[in-house]
């Protein structure tokens, strides 16, 4: 979390002095963030329900077309989560919901052992069993194991054990994202009334870019002091690592940028908002031109150069937000305040 926002406090005083009619006519940055994020949570909830229905259809009459549809729906819902993953506070933090949707990184392959455990269970789980088990079985990575892991070559997804497990997970996932959307709406009044959330939202976006740079790309690519290791990448089983990164960037474009622009306009620093938008767009183009997976690119010199360009673009984006824009707004990162114990 961030310790001080000196310029903004001054600005808040200045705003208080302006006529109310002016203030109410102009949506504040938090108004814009809350509205945009609500749409993102709505999409996540809808996509998760489509995934749940798709899993049920496939299990009823498994065929290749329905399986393809299922894989697409899994990816769409996972991407919808990536888009709004930059909100790391509020209802997403409740009951570790963010972790429920995506337990990662998973250095011990807990996802694999949890799924294998349930596949061998005497009785098939329902959504309640999934809810009371660990975060490793609750989210998109567990479904990814069922859809893509090599071990599933020996067991058809249409087997009752696998299908029951998949449906229990997708039902739980749909429940969780529906609750998330509903709770975000209810959270609105508190979010809009509490000035500190401007800082919180910015800090959360900065952390998202740091995570992208260091953990989601830097570590699996071997840029963080240890050799490259594709198993550290998200979605290595499905080979969609880069697509997920792209979705997170798109989510910042639609969910975060408008509020940021309004904030910087208030602070009379619109050029910084434009610089951030331009860099974000450039990064998005770079991401969209890369193959979807990260692991194959570790062995391919040219593809790896493409990944490096993406990494550098994200690094610049992180610098713009975490240093230049944060500096302009007078933000100071906390140590214990962001990660105490």
């Amino acid at each position: 979390m961030i310790a001080s926002l000196r310029r903004l406090s001054l600005l808040a005083c200045a705003l208080l002095a302006t006529p109310l009619s002016f203030a109410t006519d102009t949506p504040t940055p938090r108004d814009m963030w809350h509205g945009a994020v609500e749409l993102q949570y709505a999409e996540l909830s809808a996509a998760s329900e489509r995934l749940e229905a798709s899993a049920a259809r496939f299990c009823q009459s498994p065929d290749e077309a329905l399986r393809q549809r299922l894989e697409n729906d899994w990816l769409s819902a996972y991407q919808a989560w990536q888009a709004v993953r930059f909100i790391q506070f509020g209802p997403a933090e409740q009951n570790s919901r963010g972790w429920q949707l995506q337990f990662w990184p998973d250095r011990k392959n807990l996802v694999g052992s949890k799924v294998r455990g349930w596949l061998k269970a005497a009785e098939a789980p329902d959504a309640q069993d999934i809810a009371s088990d660990s975060v490793a079985i609750q989210g998109f990575p567990a479904l990814e194991y069922l859809l893509y892991d090599d071990a599933m070559d020996e067991q058809a997804l249409s087997d009752p054990a696998a299908c029951d497990l998949m449906q229990a997970i997708t039902t739980h996932l749909a429940d969780t994202t529906t609750a998330l959307h509903r709770d975000w709406q209810a959270f609105g009044e508190h979010y809009l009334e509490t000035a500190d959330y401007t800082e919180t939202t910015l800090a959360s976006a900065i952390q998202t870019l740091e995570l992208l740079e260091d953990k989601r790309l830097g570590e699996p690519m071997g840029l963080k002091g240890a050799p490259a290791n594709g198993y550290l990448a998200e979605a290595w089983r499905s080979g969609q690592t880069v697509r997920l990164v792209e979705s997170s960037l798109e989510g910042l474009r639609t969910g975060f940028l408008p509020g940021l622009t309004a904030l910087l306009r208030e602070a009379d620093a619109l050029p910084l908002a434009e610089a951030f938008r331009d860099q974000l767009d450039k990064t998005l183009v770079q991401a969209s031109e890369l193959p979807p997976g990260l692991v194959p690119s570790l062995e391919d010199e040219e593809a790896f150069r493409g990944l490096q360009s993406l990494y550098l673009d994200i690094s610049q984006l992180r610098h713009l937000l975490g240093n230049e824009i944060a500096g302009e707004l007078g933000l100071v990162r906390g140590f214990n305040s962001s990660d105490g114990d």
Partner: protein, 362 residues
């Protein structure tokens, strides 16, 4: 004024201001060290011993971020503990300014970042997690025998955190956080819906649980605490539930065993963002200081009355301990070391170091 000059001027006044402290700090008969876990700006982890002039210091690099610590009575040793889910504790010799021992929690266990000695300085009591069943334990170590592990005392609960010795010398008071974590899951909190935190009393000889007081909400994680000379305990909570709710963040256990929560006004409570870090009693007055890094604030409370004495802005307020003169030393995650006293309108900056102090001062 040039920034460097400001710093120098600040440090000059420190040395003068701190002279009386060096003899007045309890358990510090001679000028000695304040110990704290710190990170440097690059993110490397250290245990720092900082002299009371704020300038002289030594740093011991350690492989993991550390958290709290305790002094060994009648010795020049201090022990600092790896932060959850760390697995080591470090015995520092204040004379040689070196690491004297590194003790591992052992396979299947990790520490929570706090420990305390008995009055003789022989037995060390450390909060720990037994991973196979997530059992919260107090592990006992024998400092006279190279810190050999002696026995475990189960707490019938999850996530013990800070513990202190009561004035009777026989009873431990323990903040049971209630949060289940596992190293395989990193810092993911695994049981937020079923937490059962408590403020507990434990007989350190028999291991018998003497009292278990539950906070008013099951997601109020009881974490850090201090004990007054008369046996009154103040403990600080961290609320793990919905951030739009308001709950009390401190509780009190009177010397007669009566448990209650301190209710401050809602606006102040909300400004702490559900989080307290260190709790430190004054040894001179009935005041207790609580740091709230997420509120960038320290609270000074009248412990007996349960009322607010002062609420002072202090960025990323972290570690705290009494200064022996009725005031407190407070560290900041941003590098500052401050003095807070009831009669100062704002914290007095004693020194500013290029360090990130972790949540506790020893």
């Amino acid at each position: 004024m040039h920034r460097r000059q400001v710093l120098k001027a600040g440090l000059g006044s420190v040395a003068m201001a701190l002279t009386p402290l060096s003899w007045a700090l309890p358990a510090r008969e001679e000028a000695a060290w304040l110990f704290s876990a710190v990170d440097d700006p690059s993110g490397a982890h250290y245990i720092a011993g900082v002299a009371l002039d704020g300038q002289t210091r030594f740093m011991i690099e350690v492989p993991e971020r550390c958290h709290g610590g305790c002094l060994r009575p009648d010795s020049r040793q201090a022990v600092l503990f790896a932060r959850r889910p760390g697995t080591r504790m470090y015995v520092i010799d204040g004379d040689s300014r070196q690491l004297a021992h590194t003790i591992a929690a052992g396979k299947g266990y990790h520490f929570y970042g706090h420990g305390v000695f008995d009055l003789s300085g022989r037995y060390l009591y450390v909060t720990a997690n037994r991973l196979e069943d997530s059992a919260g334990l107090v592990r006992v170590y024998d400092a006279a025998n190279a810190y050999a592990h002696v026995r475990d005392m189960p707490l019938d609960g999850i996530g013990p955190h800070e513990l202190k010795l009561m004035p009777d010398g026989d009873t431990l008071v323990i903040g049971l956080g209630g949060i289940q974590t596992h190293p395989d899951y990193g810092r993911v909190k695994l049981n937020l819906d079923t937490m059962a935190p408590a403020l507990m009393l434990l007989d350190r000889h028999s291991g018998e649980i003497l009292a278990r007081h539950e906070p008013s909400h099951h997601q109020l994680s009881c974490r850090h605490l201090d004990v007054a000379a008369d046996g009154a305990v103040i403990a600080g909570y961290q609320f793990e539930g919905p951030e739009w709710e308001i709950h009390p963040l401190t509780c009190r256990l009177d010397s007669d065993g009566h448990f209650s929560e301190l209710t401050l006004d809602d606006e102040l409570t909300a400004s702490l963002n559900h989080y307290t870090a260190s709790v430190a009693f004054s040894r001179v007055s009935g005041n207790v200081l609580v740091t709230a890094p997420r509120g960038n604030r320290v609270l000074l409370l009248d412990a007996a009355q349960g009322t607010l004495v002062a609420s002072l802005a202090l960025p990323d307020a972290a570690g705290a301990r009494c200064d022996g003169n009725g005031g407190f030393l407070v560290s900041s995650g941003q590098g500052g070391l401050y003095r807070v006293t009831p009669d100062l309108a704002m914290p007095e900056l004693l020194a500013s170091l290029e360090l990130r102090w972790d949540n506790h001062l020893t």
